[in-house]
Symmetry: C2
Subunit: 154 residues, 2 copies
């Protein structure tokens, strides 16, 4: 019986040169986006990066924000920093006190290191916050969802 490899949107497939080609940008730009916190690529056993189809779609969205919507890289970082990750993760008050993501507003939560809180042993790349909420529209939807939940519980 031949071994079946499970393939989905999150399967690491493309090396950096292929990913860059798919996006129509240079390899270096891709790494720039990584340093900005827009993408957490897979690192296979080796030091080389691999990108999944979801990664490509994510980066296409970021690209539209930069090129079409004229939002600067720093601007996107600030927007991502507004995401109420704590309400998704349901971390404790104590966790929040020590959490750089909760207490700052410059970068997305996955850009900070998570020592001494609920995220410590979790992988940001498989976290709902990272996977779902990286653009304006989705972040606003989440904020609306939270406020409506609040009101219905009053």
């Amino acid at each position: 019986m031949r071994s079946e490899i499970i393939q989905n949107q999150d399967t690491p497939l493309y090396p950096i040169s292929t990913a860059a080609k798919l996006l129509g940008i240079s390899v270096h730009t891709l790494r720039m986006y990584e340093r900005a916190g827009f993408i957490l690529p897979f690192q296979k056993e080796s030091s080389h990066r691999l990108y999944s189809q979801s990664d490509i779609e994510r980066l296409k969205c970021i690209r539209r924000a930069i090129n079409e919507d004229k939002i600067s890289i720093a601007g996107i970082q600030r927007i991502q920093a507004l995401m109420p990750c704590w309400d998704v993760i349901k971390c404790s008050q104590k966790d929040r006190e020590h959490c750089d993501a909760f207490n700052n507003h410059a970068y997305a939560c996955w850009m900070y290191n998570h020592k001494k809180n609920i995220c410590e042993n979790l992988d940001c790349k498989s976290c709902q916050v990272y996977k779902e909420f990286y653009d304006c529209a989705r972040i606003k939807s989440k904020i609306i969802e939270i406020t409506e939940k609040h009101e219905s519980s009053l």
Copy 2:
């Protein structure tokens, strides 16, 4: 008895040339910021603009975002669009259905016209949303406040 003129931070004082000088920018740039939705200047009986001390402080903050934090004008607009104004105003579900601010994420609420909702007869310039929440830090604080309120009521 001499008539006392009440002066506070919100008193319209400076014509556009003075305001520009105080901010170290050109008159035209100031009008650019106005079109972007960063400032709603007073219009005296005439068509000429007047700016208050609060207006100046507000614009200094916007200026820092642009020049120091490197957030583009479009980026600031998006950030302002994430403000949950509806939770401050406490507008009805019906209001929200018809509200452009609630249903979009490109501009701050005061940039849309408010027909057929609770804001219709209110002046944005004196609204808490406009006066308080125009920068990243304050908007994030508000989002935190809302989520914590929610949790304490569970």
